[in-house]
């Protein structure tokens, strides 16, 4: 019974983890670099949602939209003015630049909000007991929002012109630009959507617990694990990877203390890179 409960919890936390993991893997697929600044954009989204939800007293769903839009806009600006010039200088410069960027942005949030833990303004609801399994209505709502966001993303990628342009560019940048797809516009679009998803994910994680400026950095290992396990650059892979990592982290509670949750993500990265570096659904890893 306990195992079933843990698997259920893992599937729910994994679904939420999938949202920022898709952002990470989308940037990797289109712009071909690992963006460590994802962590601070999660924090920015979480705090933008906090402002909307607690200071402006907006309900949860519009606040989540605010988290998406604010983090997405910061993502476009930071990519355009900070990370884009680094990409020309090679991947080490880009990786270090994105780490420096994440610490800079995280400290901007710390300067404004301090280090204390904050919670969202949520109606207090009793947990539901279904067939001996405990589920909170908030968790179910988060799950539904995460699933809706991912569905919208896949619809966007497959049925709109911009979405198709993004996929074409990820597939073959040279061919895409010959066909007249503007590389700069694609970069801005993917930065907006991916960092928006990061911000949305940051707030969804915060809805479950509390937020502070480290909310993004604390989950970054799990998110990287989700993307690497599923195959860096594969969007469906990120979802599969996130579910596996979520369930793995919950099941680890059977034998390890909760403090080791994110170390489980690292373990998953090591196992996958040793046995199957391209991940479950990835194309290649070299």
């Amino acid at each position: 019974m306990q195992v079933t409960q843990l698997i259920l919890n893992g599937l729910m936390s994994g679904t939420i983890l999938a949202v920022p993991a898709i952002g990470l893997t989308a940037i990797f697929a289109v712009l071909r670099f690992t963006n460590f600044a994802l962590a601070s954009h999660m924090t920015i989204g979480a705090f933008a949602g906090f402002l909307a939800n607690v200071w402006l007293a907006w309900p949860v769903v519009p606040s989540l939209l605010a988290a998406f839009v604010v983090a997405g806009l910061v993502g476009v600006l930071s990519d355009e003015f900070i990370l884009k010039p680094f990409r020309a200088a090679g991947f080490i410069t880009t990786a270090i630049g994105s780490i420096a960027l994440t610490i800079a942005l995280e400290n901007c949030v710390r300067l404004l909000f301090g280090n204390e833990l904050r919670g969202y303004d949520l109606p207090i609801r009793r947990d539901w007991l279904v067939g001996g399994l405990r589920v909170s209505p908030q968790q179910l709502e988060n799950l539904a929002i995460a699933v809706a966001a991912m569905t919208l993303l896949f619809l966007f990628l497959f049925f709109t012109r911009s979405g198709r342009a993004m996929r074409a560019f990820a597939d073959n940048p040279m061919l895409a630009s010959i066909k007249g797809i503007n590389a700069d516009m694609v970069a801005r679009l993917v930065s907006f959507v991916a960092m928006g998803l990061a911000g949305l994910g940051g707030m969804l994680i915060g809805l479950d617990t509390t937020i502070d400026p480290l909310v993004g950095f604390k989950s970054i290992l799990s998110i990287f694990a989700a993307a690497v396990v599923g195959g860096l650059g594969s969007l469906p892979g990120a979802v599969v990877g996130a579910l596996l990592v979520g369930v793995g982290e919950e099941l680890s509670l059977l034998i390890l203390s909760p403090a080791y949750r994110s170390a489980i993500g690292f373990l998953a990265i090591l196992v996958v890179l040793t046995l199957r570096p391209r991940g479950i659904l990835g194309a290649r890893a070299y």
């Binding site: 990797f28 670099f33 690992t34 460590f36 900070i82 010039p85 680094f86 200088a89 991947f91 080490i92 410069t93 990786a95 270090i96 630049g97 780490i99 420096a100 960027l101 610490i103 800079a104 400290n107 901007c108 710390r110 300067l111 301090g114 280090n115 290992l221 990287f224 690497v228 860096l232 203390s257 403090a259 080791y260 994110s262 170390a263 993500g265 690292f266 373990l267 990265i269 090591l270 890179l273 040793t274 570096p277 890893a285 070299y286």
Partner: protein
């Protein structure tokens, strides 16, 4: 005040050791290490535990810390060396964070978050605090000088040339018959050994280490040192470390002077200053104060061209 200045100089020396180590990994071999602080921690914890719990001499502890950091470096490098560089970035970052989690939670290794205190320093009791700091400064400076000449030898050796070739074009190095993987792993091991040495020396100087000290920010400080001085250049690494420690210490005094800031905000302003400085240098002054200089090959292109046409 003099006490404080000597302590800062020791810190600068320890940063210089790390910058020299990173120079081999990043500047020469073109490999990334975002978890530098993890290898620093391995050296500090190994040496601290061996001297404290086993009562081994400090020299043995420092040697063991250096060696263990190199061994861990080899393992980390082996997992990702045949993959895209991004994977090494993820694995090194994950390694440092996971190590911090383990050291914070496993009380039986080194008291968890309380940290390890009472790590012995050479002649700490006999010399008194003042003389001890000066003595230790001498030890650290000696270590920097030795490592400096080692790295300098490495830069101009055939080994160093192969590393630069791999950094600039891996395919050509492979085509020339070089075992690229072996060279990369060796370079990574040499660099992480220097990081471990720096960590061990740090622990014996401050006598106290705790997981909180090994936060990712330290990784940025060392990258900043290396970039400021000039990547790929040993003199630049040492110069950069001294400048960065001076910059960090001055922000310690300047940030509280801004009116209306709480302690947390002052700390945030400091970290902001460091990360923005890194971004600006990375963007506009990536060559640093002392750019890498490579001696011209002993033949010119004009002389080489006819020779090639005979083949």
């Amino acid at each position: 005040m003099e006490h404080y200045l000597v302590a800062i100089a020791v810190t600068a020396g320890i940063y210089a050791l790390m910058a020299l180590g990173m120079n081999v990994i990043w500047g020469m071999a073109g490999l990334i290490n975002l978890g530098l602080v993890g290898f620093f921690a391995v050296g500090a914890y190994a040496s601290g535990l061996i001297t404290l719990k086993l009562g081994a001499p400090i020299v043995v502890g420092v040697a063991a810390g250096t060696l263990l950091a190199a061994v861990v470096g080899v393992l980390v490098a082996l997992i990702t060396v045949h993959l895209r560089g991004d994977y090494l970035a993820i694995v090194t970052l994950g390694f440092a964070e996971s190590l911090r989690i383990v050291m914070s939670n496993e009380l039986w290794i080194a008291n968890g978050t309380d940290g390890l205190s009472g790590i012995p320093g050479p002649f700490r009791a006999e010399a008194g605090p003042h003389l001890f700091n000066l003595l230790y400064l001498g030890i650290v400076v000696a270590a920097v000088v030795v490592l400096f000449f080692l790295v300098d030898r490495l830069v101009n050796s055939p080994f160093g040339r192969v590393l630069r070739a791999i950094r600039d074009d891996e395919e050509i190095a492979r085509f020339a018959g070089k075992n690229v993987v072996l060279f990369k792993v060796k370079a990574f091991a040499f660099g992480t050994a220097a990081l471990g040495l720096a960590g061990a020396l740090y622990g014996h100087f401050t006598s106290y280490i705790a997981p909180d000290l090994f936060a990712p920010l330290l990784t940025l400080y060392v990258k900043l040192s290396l970039l400021t001085g000039g990547l790929g250049n040993s003199k630049g690494a040492v110069l950069g470390a001294v400048l960065v420690v001076f910059f960090l210490e001055s922000t310690r005094f300047l940030a509280p002077l801004i009116p209306g800031l709480s302690a947390v905000q002052a700390a945030a302003v400091r970290e902001l200053a460091v990360s923005v400085a890194l971004l600006v240098i990375l963007r506009f002054y990536a060559k640093g104060l002392l750019p890498e200089r490579i001696e011209a090959p002993p033949f010119t292109a004009a002389a080489a061209a006819p020779a090639a046409s005979h083949i």
